[in-house]
């Protein structure tokens, strides 16, 4: 990407600029923090987000698995394949 096109994109959105928070920004902010990951099946995984990639593949630590809101098991380390992920939710500060 040329620096010219980058300048153009920052110029074009001054109206919403102060509010804007892209998915990439969110992922940067949430790395290493406690998160709740909801799968399509409705299962929740709560734990510390260790790392993730563009497919939303996720590595978590200190993970607790909740099925229908009930704690089912705990994992020290776990990997979630990205296609199953419905959303990633952070706890604010």
């Amino acid at each position: 990407m040329s620096s010219e096109s980058k300048d153009a994109s920052t110029e074009e959105a001054p109206t919403n600029a102060e509010h804007k928070r892209s998915p990439a920004d969110f992922l940067k902010a949430v790395l290493g923090r406690p998160v709740n990951v909801r799968l399509n099946t409705g299962t929740d995984y709560k734990g510390v987000l260790a790392c993730l990639d563009g497919y939303m593949n996720i590595a978590m630590e200190q993970t607790e698995e909740y099925v229908d809101g009930q704690l089912k098991s705990k994992y020290g380390d776990c990997f979630i394949r990205g296609n199953n992920v419905l959303y990633i939710s952070s706890q604010k500060r």
Binding site: A13, N16, H19, S22, P23, R38, G82, Y87, Q91
Partner: protein
């Protein structure tokens, strides 16, 4: 000058305001739209999730997430900018 608006421009105009998202399947989500990308992955603030109760399929569970979420664009079907959700819809008023 063209007065045509691209679909994603419409969503861009909705940044900072409430949005109602219908997912594939039975889930619906509302929240304040903070941002999105080309895959329509969405960042939402104060998100509320409406889903069917796994124990009683006639009941709708309303779950306030009270946090910022990143919603996977894969499962997004319909976006309704400016709407606060099912309770705010025209159908529920009529």
């Amino acid at each position: 000058m063209s007065n045509r608006i691209l679909p994603l421009e419409l969503i861009d105009k909705a940044i900072g305001s409430p949005i109602w998202i219908l997912m594939r399947g039975q889930t619906e989500i509302t929240g304040i739209l903070r941002g999105f990308d080309d895959y329509v992955n969405l960042v939402l603030d104060d998100a509320v999730e409406y889903s069917l109760d796994p124990r009683d399929k006639n009941q709708v569970l309303k779950k306030e997430l009270k946090a910022e979420i990143l919603l996977n664009g894969n499962h997004v079907a319909v976006l309704v900018p400016g709407s606060k959700g099912p309770e705010d819809s025209l159908a529920s008023k009529s």
